[in-house]
Amino acid sequence: MAKLGMVFDLKACIGCNACVVACKQENSVPDGVFFTRTLSHEYGEYPGVKRVYIPTICNQCEDAPCEKVCPSGATYTRADGIVMVDDQKCIGCSSCAVACPYDMRTMLTKDALTTGLFGTGELTPFEQQGYGRYTAGTAVKCDFCSERVDAGLNPACVVTCPTNARIFGDLDDPNSAPSVLIRERNGRQPLPEKNTKPKVYYVD
């Protein structure tokens, strides 16, 4: 079975946030909730100041702390390595959210599903068709667009990225694009000291 993962090419990312929008669109992510972000960081001294963009996403950890602490069995890992949340089992205790070192989980409040993108209490047709997949009070996170993956497609953020800064594939396959990148450009995982074995790597 595959071990799906992603590589972020920091040299390629231009911080356009198209991935963030694509994710919102694909998953009908409610207002104020983000399954992926492109963080920015400025460093250096004038006139040599630089800005770098760092995409973040659920790292689908092999040793997922969110799964270990889940008291209801709602969080589980698929055979292909994607960490999922079963919203019909989730009790909304937030244990997973405080266990994730990457702050990549969100507790979905009832307000998030009823306020609407314009804050008027009226849901747009887009929200009406999309919010059915969510249950208020439960934990939500990125699942690598598992429905797309099941259909043989890449996650929406990967498809949308105009600079190919997001590379998705099977990390168990030494010839896959992410495996080659990790090998050739010294891919590094976020916060490796947390021992979560993320399946997301960064190259620069």
């Binding site: 920091l10 946030n17 104020g32 972000r37 492109t38 963080l39 920015s40 960081h41 400025e42 460093y43 250096g44 001294e45 630089k50 770098v52 760092i54 973040t56 702390p65 270990k68 602490v69 889940c70 008291p71 209801s72 069995g73 709602a74 089992k89 989730c90 009790i91 909304g92 205790c93 937030s94 244990s95 959210a97 405080v98 266990a99 994730c100 070192p101 990457y102 702050d103 507790m107 979905l108 409040t109 249950t135 208020a136 009070g137 439960t138 934990a139 590094r188 995982q189 976020p190 916060l191 490796p192 000291e193 947390k194 021992n195 979560t196 960064y202 620069d204």
Partner: protein, 306 residues
């Protein structure tokens, strides 16, 4: 090298520290009430103080579930919390609370009405019930700290001293509350023992709190950031005045100087409880997620984790 984006960044798209915001006041009250109630039950059990056991069970059995359910996103499914005792401290804790309340109530009923004699049950059964209640109490006193220390996300929490603090604070609250509840019931000798226990535990609490901060400060930059928030930053006044002085130093001084006066004991209990509650609150508030890219340091000038 100027680092312009390494402070708190809230929910923004900046790289930096982010506050823990998932466990809030209702969870702090749930943790606090479970530890105070269970501590009171355990100390009262040791001194065979019936009113203390009843009050302890009442606090743990009402406030803890109420505020925990208030925090939960889907309280109607809360029963599912017991499903994974093999891996989750929340599950273990939920089962232990059931054990404590169930067998604790049975023990109290047995103690009050002498069920063994009335129903002709063997004495060993009464003992087994009592020991199961105590076993449940011991786990409840620690499990919330275990649930916190299990989280590698926050350096401030990820310490074996956090469950120790839970246990010690619970025992301290139990000793002081038993002194208040047992007025006129406990013997002078028992009161002196409880007073000494409370005073000793207050000093132990202080040592454990200091040790938690020292360990967090030395472990990572995120830990040091949290400690700074508590010692010099946003929460310094509350931490110093409420947790340390009001919650630990003042009650210890009162017990050491005039511990046998009831008013002093009551004031010491009240001060300790206020300090304990703020300790719970501030441990939640000062926990921060670290910037996720420590390991990428060097390549483009980000601060390293250690």
């Amino acid at each position: 090298m100027i680092q312009t984006s390494t402070g708190l960044v809230g929910n923004s798209f900046k790289l930096g520290y982010r506050f823990q915001r998932y466990w809030d006041t209702s969870m702090a009250i749930a943790f606090f009430s479970a530890e105070v109630g269970t501590g009171l039950f355990l100390v009262s059990f040791y001194f065979d103080l019936l009113s203390g056991m009843i009050l302890g069970l009442a606090i743990t059995g009402t406030l803890k579930p109420y505020f925990h359910l208030a925090h939960m996103g889907v309280p109607g499914r809360s029963w599912r919390a017991i499903l994974r005792p093999d891996r989750s401290w929340i599950s273990r804790g939920a089962i232990s609370i059931g054990l404590l309340i169930g067998f604790g109530v049975l023990h109290v009923v047995n103690r009050s009405f002498g069920l063994e004699a009335t129903l002709g049950l063997p004495a060993a059964l009464g003992q087994a019930i009592a020991y199961l209640a105590v076993a449940g109490a011991l786990v409840v006193m620690c499990y919330q700290g275990m649930a916190m220390s299990d989280s590698e996300a926050f350096t401030l929490w990820a310490s074996p001293l956090v469950p120790v603090a839970s246990f010690c604070y619970a025992l301290t609250a139990g000793a002081l509350a038993a002194l208040a509840v047992g007025w006129g019931v406990l013997s002078e000798g028992q009161r002196a023992t409880l007073s000494t226990l409370a005073l000793t535990m207050l000093l132990v609490d202080l040592a454990v709190v200091v040790a938690i901060l020292l360990r967090a400060k030395g472990k990572s930059k995120g830990g040091a950031f949290s400690v700074d928030l508590l010692v010099r930053g946003e929460y310094a006044a509350s931490f110093r005045n409420l947790v340390v002085i009001l919650g630990l130093v003042l009650p210890a001084a009162l017990l050491a100087v005039a511990g046998s006066l009831r008013l002093v004991e009551l004031f010491a209990l009240l001060a300790m409880l206020v300090g304990f509650f703020f300790f719970r609150m501030l441990m939640f508030k000062a926990a921060v997620f670290e910037p996720i890219t420590h390991d990428l340091a060097g390549s483009f000038g980000l601060p390293s984790a250690r």
